[in-house]
């Protein structure tokens, strides 16, 4: 008699009214549906330094910072590749320039990390953007090759001319007061970079970036210089990379040619493949997955590359769209029972 008929309904029906841009939130359930993923991410990242080192040992404090630095690079890569259409292998380039800039500022001018990191971020981004300016008309694999050549060339130049400490690098760079500051500062920076970029790509200027990727001739016909907007995008991405590099120099208390190592170019791409390109959060989580795995596999010695490759291949074969693209789709498909 009083049996209530029920049917399934997608949770996001009420939330997504007509478009992706307009939301009509009408209940706590729907608010939670929107806020929860973000909250889980932020709280999860903030809890990492509290949970991981006690479980695995003090060495893992460093790994968290590394993962976050790789995360900055991956954010920059994803932003350039999926929102501006520039495939950049310049992670090593950005890290190296940022690291050396911070180290030189710290050693020669005696500035504290509080000043060298922001200065290296902006200064390094300007250097990187200026050096990449001639390559900006290039697209696809050609731009990628140019960004790959710069770290290799700079490494050899430093080696051959024996400048900036040559192969020994710059020693005696100031470190952070303690490991808590070291971990939490970079995690906060990563969170701000993630949400900042996500907001940016949906602002008007972000639409211009996406327009450059989609149809650059149309952007020119719209009265906008594509070189200018590509330069702005490279400035943003290289700024993130240089920030990571400067941070790394202060963590190591040293800056040397190993900061031009190709790991910094390759791991962000692998993380993007695993995490899902175009989501921004995916590549970041990919780094927090790959970097610890890579550290953990160290116990296997040289075999670690094999395991690493197998993991990567498995992801490419079975989840080639990336974890976050998959997860987001599933999340949108959540259903609930409602009374008819």
């Amino acid at each position: 008699m009083d049996k209530v008929e029920r049917r399934k309904e997608r949770i996001d029906r009420g939330i997504k009214v007509r478009t992706e841009g307009i939301y009509a939130v009408s209940s706590w359930q729907e608010v939670a549906y929107l806020v929860l993923p973000r909250l889980v991410l932020i709280v999860g990242l903030l809890l990492l330094p509290l949970i991981i080192p006690p479980l695995f040992g003090p060495y893992w404090k460093r790994v968290i910072s590394y993962a976050a630095i790789y995360g900055l690079l991956a954010l920059g890569f994803d932003f350039l590749a999926h929102f501006v259409g520039l495939v950049s292998l310049g992670g090593a380039f950005f890290i190296g320039v940022g690291g050396y800039t911070a180290a030189i500022l710290n050693i020669s001018l005696g500035l504290s990390p509080l000043f060298t990191i922001p200065m290296a971020t902006v200064g390094g981004a300007i250097i990187c953007t200026l050096l990449l300016l001639p390559a900006l008309p290039l697209r696809g694999v050609y731009f990628a090759i140019v960004t790959l050549m710069y770290p290799l060339a700079l490494m050899r130049i430093i080696e051959a001319l024996n400048i900036f400490g040559g192969t020994d690098g710059i020693l005696g760079v100031a470190g952070f007061p303690n490991t808590w500051i070291e971990q939490y500062l970079i995690i906060l920076i990563v969170i701000f970079a993630l949400f900042g970029l996500r907001r940016l790509v949906n602002e008007d200027i972000g639409l211009v970036f996406r327009g450059v990727k989609d149809n650059d001739q149309s952007v020119r016909a719209s009265g906008l210089s594509i070189t200018l907007y590509k330069a702005i995008a490279v400035f943003i991405a290289s700024g993130l990379g240089c920030l990571g590099g400067a941070y790394l120099a202060h963590i190591y208390m040293w800056s040397g040619i190993s900061q031009f190592a190709l790991d910094f170019s390759v791991i962000p791409i692998a993380a993007t493949v695993i995490g899902g390109g175009g989501t921004l959060v995916g590549p970041l989580l990919g780094c927090f997955f790959l970097v610890p795995i890579s550290e953990w596999l160290r116990t296997f010695g040289t075999l670690r590359i094999v395991f690493y490759s197998v993991i990567l291949m498995a992801f490419i074969m079975f989840r080639s769209e990336g974890v976050m693209v998959f997860a987001q789709r599933k999340y949108h498909q959540f259903q609930r029972w409602v009374k008819v």
């Binding site: 478009t19 639409l207 996406r210 020119r220 016909a221 719209s222 009265g223 906008l224 210089s225």
Partner: protein, 262 residues
């Protein structure tokens, strides 16, 4: 309003390797006119538009827009002067909804200068302005259409979107590259009033077109290109009586059947 030369093209030459795409093409367009450019396939019509808007560097020649030399300028600089174009093969931003397609031209220096830093001045932000422009160009305001991804829109709407992109720049001159091609007769019939409205708003139009009946309804002067050279220019009736045009372009038989309305 009319009487002033808005565009003066002098001796434009362009060759692609051994192919002479344009040879000494010269013409002038007066403010407020609708100027038609016709010619058989491969006669250099689109190349001419590409040269005028800077998408292709011409080999020689001079282009004056409002008395200012714009030859060899970059496409974005030319667009910012109010000389805009549509593309024959539509170039929307497929991954963006239709109304967000217009935010990009509304972000240009010219649109910001004319409409204030939010794009629309007192009219609102760029999103609002772009919906207004889309409604003006024939996207129903209260339907889903302006919010749909450009990749899911049919050709008719994409052609309108091309025109809308030009309008967002608040242009003085629009070069339309075959806006009627690929459309059904009824779609064309609904586009013609739009063109007439643009003309009444004081926008000068250059139309490359194969649909002669519709073109002659709006165009006041027509130029005929053949193998990169200008054959003739004049009012449509005169041009169509020209023997060389009959020979080169339409085939004499077809032209004998052709009847002018009014």
């Amino acid at each position: 309003m009319s009487g002033e030369n808005i565009l003066e093209v002098t001796d434009v030459c362009k060759s692609f390797g051994g192919v002479q795409a344009l040879l000494n093409v010269s013409f002038t367009i007066q403010q407020g006119d609708v100027f038609g450019i016709i010619g058989p396939n491969g006669s250099g019509k689109t190349t001419l538009i590409n040269c005028i808007t800077g998408f292709i560097k011409m080999n020689s020649g001079k282009i004056l827009y409002k008395g200012k030399d714009i030859s060899y300028k970059a496409p974005n600089q030319i667009a910012n002067l109010g000389l805009t174009r549509t593309f024959q093969i539509m170039r929307p931003y497929y991954s963006l909804p239709a109304y967000k397609n217009l935010i990009i031209p509304l972000f240009s220096p010219r649109a910001r200068r004319k409409g204030g830093w939010r794009g629309g001045g007192k009219l609102g932000d760029r999103g609002t302005v772009s919906i207004d422009i889309l409604e003006e160009i024939g996207f129903e305001r209260d339907s889903f259409v302006p919010y749909k991804l450009a990749s899911s829109l049919p050709t008719g709407y994409l052609k309108r979107l091309e025109l809308a992109r030009c309008l967002a720049l608040r242009p003085d001159l629009i070069l339309c590259d075959e806006v009627f091609s690929g459309l059904s007769m009824s779609e064309i019939a609904s586009m013609v009033p739009l063109i007439e409205k643009l003309q009444m708003d004081g926008i000068t139009l250059v139309m490359i077109e194969h649909r002669l009946r519709e073109l002659f309804r709006v165009a006041s002067r027509v130029m005929v290109l053949n193998f990169g050279e200008k054959l003739t220019e004049g009012i449509p009736e005169e041009v169509m009586q020209d023997e060389r045009v009959k020979e080169a372009y339409l085939g004499s038989e077809k032209l004998l059947d052709y009847k002018f309305e009014a």
